[in-house]
């Protein structure tokens, strides 16, 4: 079992090694919690802009796909309804039924 003191001592020593090797800049930035824009180089800015562009692109894609599927969905649904309607009207049973109804009507009229 390690003690708090042992852990902190080791932690500090490794931190020193990292600082000696030249990463104090990034550590300081993270500790400050606000890596200000002035510290950013051209490469950082390029990556940031790429992320923003990609975020916008995914959003546009999502909206476009959503619109596309909604439109297609409505179209397919309309076509299906129309096709069912046509099929029903065109079926021979329907014609027979109509004839029967017509006969019924004729009978009911008492003529």
């Amino acid at each position: 079992m390690i003690t708090e003191a042992q852990f902190l001592e080791q932690d500090a020593k490794i931190l020193d090694i990292f600082k000696e090797e030249g990463i104090e800049k990034s550590l300081a930035a993270s500790q400050e919690n606000n890596a200000k824009a002035k510290d950013l180089d051209a490469e950082d800015l390029r990556r940031i802009e790429r992320i923003v562009e990609r975020a916008k692109f995914t959003l546009v894609m999502e909206h476009s796909l959503s619109f596309f599927f909604k439109t297609i969905g409505a179209g397919v649904s309309g076509l299906a309804t129309a096709a069912i309607g046509v099929a029903k009207n065109a079926s021979p049973n329907n014609k027979n039924k109509k004839t029967v109804h017509e006969n019924d009507n004729n009978n009911c009229s008492g003529k």
Partner: protein, 191 residues
């Protein structure tokens, strides 16, 4: 924008995204460079690091509305980053499993090239990190490159504080061991 805290920026993102990206861009400017460097150390490849970093920030873009603010934004962000890096590692492992030797050699060449081009961490520390196993490498990166506190690391890994300390201590031991092995001729930094 500089005067605003992360919490203020998150609040603005929640109301302004996706149509206005000003606050989001400021969050990126504050955190992206360090996140990218952390990904680079965890994954060892520029391409994988850029992809993981982009994916993490895209997830932030789409999910920031769901962020409840129970943890700090930084902790939430690094949890996403950590998971993305784990996923990228798994992908890379699968890729390596099936690729031919020539592809592996090409990747090794790329890695060597990246190492020499990376000016943030030079020399031995970089070499030590690249020799550490996945979990140890990620812990050391979160602590000494991302600059997270032990509590923040515990939150990112979703474990208790003492468990995080123990894992980090083991990673430190491993770091020390590799560092000393590489530096046998010089004075050891830790007895």
């Amino acid at each position: 924008m500089d005067a605003l805290s992360d919490d203020d920026l998150v609040a603005r993102c929640k109301t302004e995204l996706p149509y206005n990206v000003t606050a989001y861009r400021e969050l990126l400017r504050r955190h992206e460079p360090l996140v990218y460097r952390s990904c680079l150390k965890m994954l060892g490849s520029v391409q994988d690091a850029e992809e993981a970093c982009q994916d993490a920030f895209l997830q932030v873009f789409h999910k920031i509305v769901e962020f409840e603010g129970r943890a700090a934004f930084k902790t939430w962000l690094y949890r996403i980053v950590y998971n993305r890096c784990l996923e990228a590692r798994r992908k890379a492992a699968r890729r390596n499993q099936y690729h031919s030797k020539m592809v592996e050699e090409a990747e090794h060449e790329e890695l060597t090239k990246n190492k020499s081009s990376d000016d943030e961490i030079t020399g031995k520390v970089h070499e030590v990190i690249s020799r550490m196993s996945g979990e140890e490498c990620r812990l050391v990166t979160l602590r000494y490159i991302s600059g997270l506190s032990i509590q923040e690391i515990a939150d990112v890994l979703d474990i208790g504080l003492s468990a995080a300390k123990m894992r980090l201590y083991r990673a430190q031991e491993r770091f020390k061991e590799i560092y000393n092995d590489m530096d046998e001729g010089k004075e050891e930094f830790v007895k």
